[in-house]
């Protein structure tokens, strides 16, 4: 049957989505761009200040340090999370004994709120009262107080928090891989490793991209865990750009300058996700299962 014009949903179906997107995404973005050209400490009305915030941002050494730290976090968390999430996900997609029981343990962090996770790890890693103090080899290590080590501690905690979510993505994707491919490969004499690298991994390509975009954009916006775990400290050792924005805006009450940082974050997040999707051909939306 030919599809006629009338069979397609009316354009009004878009209204709720556009309304929401407009009110909670576009409007705040426009406002934040406007605020970035003003000086406002919360009293009265914002006063236009031209490009003052932007020249200050360019000269602000701490903002650039924060930006590099943000990028470092982005790379490190991706490197830690992706292989682990993929392996557990593919494993959890199988039909092994105990899989269901073990999986539910792996997914446990998903049930905890960010605040709970940050407080939990802060307590575990406390140099005086923490659980790690009782462990051999780790006893004397100050995970949250050492300005070098704390970066890796935070990467660990964030990974611990988000690996289950990405595992879930990989599990669902791995289950979509047609069983017949594996059967054919087995007949051709391919072993388990060969099957993983030539069937599973290529078919997970779009999931890797989705998960990567989520991780990259997530690193640009996540700051709650770090705020509670270290507050950006010690000193500024873990003050990533979103946290720098928060402290400038809500401790220093320099809303104009904080908005300039927010715009930088916005551009960074949008740019990254565009770059990843276009570089990988994700946007062509081609099926990976043609002919199946």
């Amino acid at each position: 049957m030919a599809v006629t014009r009338q069979d397609r949903p009316s354009g009004w179906y878009l209204a709720p989505a556009i309304t929401f997107f407009g009110a909670f995404a576009v409007l705040p973005m426009v406002l934040v761009v406007y605020l970035s050209f003003t000086s406002w400490n919360g009293f009265g009305f914002p006063a236009l200040s031209g490009a003052e915030n932007w020249t200050r941002l360019i000269e602000d050494g701490r903002a650039w340090d924060s930006l590099w730290l943000t990028l470092l976090f982005m790379v490190l968390t991706w490197l830690v999370q992706t292989p682990i999430a993929m392996l557990i996900g593919v494993w959890a997609a199988g039909r092994q004994r105990n899989r269901a029981v073990l999986s539910s343990f792996f997914f446990l962090p998903l049930l905890l709120s960010t605040a709970a996770i940050a407080l939990l790890w802060a307590a575990v890693l406390d140099p005086n009262f923490g659980a790690t103090q009782a462990l051999p080899f780790l006893g004397g290590v100050n995970f949250l107080g050492d300005t070098e080590l704390v970066v890796y501690t935070v990467v660990w905690v964030i990974s611990w928090q988000y690996i289950p979510f990405h595992t879930l993505l990989y599990q669902a994707a791995a289950r979509q891989v047609p069983q017949s491919l594996y059967e054919a490969a087995t007949l051709d004499g391919a072993g388990r490793y060969r099957q993983f690298f030539t069937i599973t991994l290529p078919l997970l390509k779009y999931t890797v991209i989705t998960s990567t975009v989520l991780m990259l954009v997530g690193s640009v916006t996540t700051f709650d865990t770090i705020l509670i775990l270290t507050g950006g400290g010690p000193g500024t050792a873990t003050r990533i750009l979103p946290l720098h924005m928060y402290i400038t805006g809500f401790s220093g009450f320099e809303f104009g300058y904080a908005s300039a940082i927010a715009v930088l974050l916005l551009l960074l997040g949008a740019g990254l996700s565009l770059a990843v999707t276009s570089a990988t051909g994700f946007r062509k939306m081609q099926s990976q299962q043609e002919g199946m």
């Binding site: 209204a15 507050g231 220093g252």
Partner: protein, 436 residues
């Protein structure tokens, strides 16, 4: 869908969004019925489980006995309060009376023309002025005018110590800076962290530099910095104080772990109570915290307290205190319930019932002539110590993070954290701050 149709739908949806945003903007924030002629006057205060009921009761008593109008209490958590107050002042949702910390914190609101001058009220009621401790009332004084009246207890910063630890190391309670340095060396040699410091929170580090600077340079240095006088940070006293603090840190006074010790989770207080550290410089609320968290430590008589050591040759008087002077109620200039608010301020804050309720809750209110009443309470020794220290203080300096404008305070706390970690030099600190 044709392009034209899509455009039309988008435009219509856009109009809806704008309309929605306008409605939201008009109806936003503030408890209902704020301000308004003949309406109920709004009193905003900081959330506190123990004190809010007392404040509520005081307002209820006022409402029953007054014919000038009614008041109503609304409370908020710390960070939301500061943000909300900032935006509300000057808007139709502004409260009538609002809680603040005095000093520079209040100055920002005064400079914005949002706060009513209360000097006239005090002049008309001399007995009201005389009812408060002068050093505390001065906390809400700017350029000789009064902008607020004290409404909660005083919270000066005191040097707490573990008596048992000092005894076993053979250390006397230090009266001077040099004695403190010697005590630090002796305690380090005995394998005890000399001073507990909750270094994850910069405000605990702030107390050290505040006291040292006060003893070295006196209150005038603080005032010049707060008033933004050119070159105020370059005062030689600032550099000298930072160098003294550097020496203290380098001697190992705070141990190696302070950068990851917290205060809110009971970190530094527990370290003191367990005898892993000898001293702890903290606000007067430390006593209540110890009593709640480590009662056996307090009951054994091991928790001691004293004033910050004197610094020989310094300009500051050894009786000077720093900390949270008190909290104040200030009247907004846009208030439409000024009569009721003024009557409340002039009668309710010195009311016998209100004061004895505060004392019972463990507060030390900044009013004259309550020493005997404090001495009779369960923790009378401590309460009278705080009372005497504040009554005798030549100057009571408000904590810097409240006294400086928010942007300057935030930068200063960051610099201070870096300083404690050894990532910033005394000279670098001064340069960074004078550049703000």
């Amino acid at each position: 869908m044709s392009l034209r149709r899509l455009t039309r739908v988008t435009t219509q949806a856009g109009a809806l969004v704008l309309a929605g945003a306008l409605v939201a903007a008009c109806g936003s924030s503030g408890p209902a019925g704020g301000g308004g002629e003949g309406g109920t006057g709004q009193v905003w205060a900081l959330e506190d489980a123990a004190l809010n009921p007392i404040e509520e009761a005081s307002i209820d008593r006022f409402n029953e006995g007054s014919d000038s109008g009614e008041l109503e209490l609304a409370t908020f958590g710390n960070d939301p309060y500061k943000q909300r107050l900032r935006v509300a002042l000057g808007s139709p949702n502004a409260p009538d009376l609002f809680f603040n910390w005095g000093g520079g914190n209040l100055k920002e609101y005064v400079d914005a023309g949002q706060v009513e001058d209360l000097t006239g009220l005090l002049d008309e009621n001399p007995e009201l002025r005389d009812a408060f401790l002068p050093s505390v009332l001065a906390g809400a004084e700017l350029d000789g005018k009064n902008y607020g009246l004290p409404m909660r207890g005083m919270q000066p910063v005191m040097l707490f110590y573990n008596q048992a630890v000092l005894e076993s190391a053979g250390v006397e309670v230090p009266q001077t800076w040099d004695e403190l340095l010697t005590a630090v060396d002796t305690l380090s040699a005995a394998g005890v962290t000399p001073v507990a410091l909750a270094g994850t929170q910069a405000w605990t580090e702030l107390m050290w530099i505040e006291y040292i600077l006060d003893r070295v340079g006196g209150p005038e240095v603080f005032q010049a910095i707060r008033d933004g006088e050119p070159g105020a940070w370059e005062d030689p006293a600032v550099l000298e104080s930072l160098e003294m603090l550097r020496e203290l840190i380098d001697r190992g006074a705070f141990g190696d772990d302070f950068a990851s010790v917290g205060y809110d989770v009971g970190g530094a207080s527990t370290i003191l109570a367990q005898g892993d550290a000898a001293f702890h410089l903290m606000g007067s609320w430390e006593y209540t915290n110890q009593l709640n968290d480590s009662p056996e430590f307090v009951e054994a008589g091991d928790l001691g307290w004293t004033t910050f050591p004197a610094i020989e040759g310094g300009a500051g008087d050894p009786s000077n205190l720093v900390g949270n002077v008190s909290n104040f109620y200030s009247l907004t200039s846009s208030s439409e319930n000024k009569e009721a608010a003024r009557e409340y301020l002039s009668t309710a804050l010195t009311d016998d019932q209100y004061i004895s309720d505060l004392i019972e809750a463990g507060d030390v209110p900044p009013v004259q002539g309550i020493r005997d009443q404090l001495a009779e309470t369960e923790n009378g020794d401590y309460a009278t110590f705080i009372y005497d220290a504040t009554a005798d203080a030549e100057n009571f300096q408000l904590s810097w993070d409240q006294d400086l404008p928010a942007d300057e305070a935030t930068e200063m706390l960051t610099q201070l954290e870096q300083f404690f970690l050894g990532n910033q030099t005394p000279q670098g600190f001064v340069e960074a701050m004078s550049g703000v």
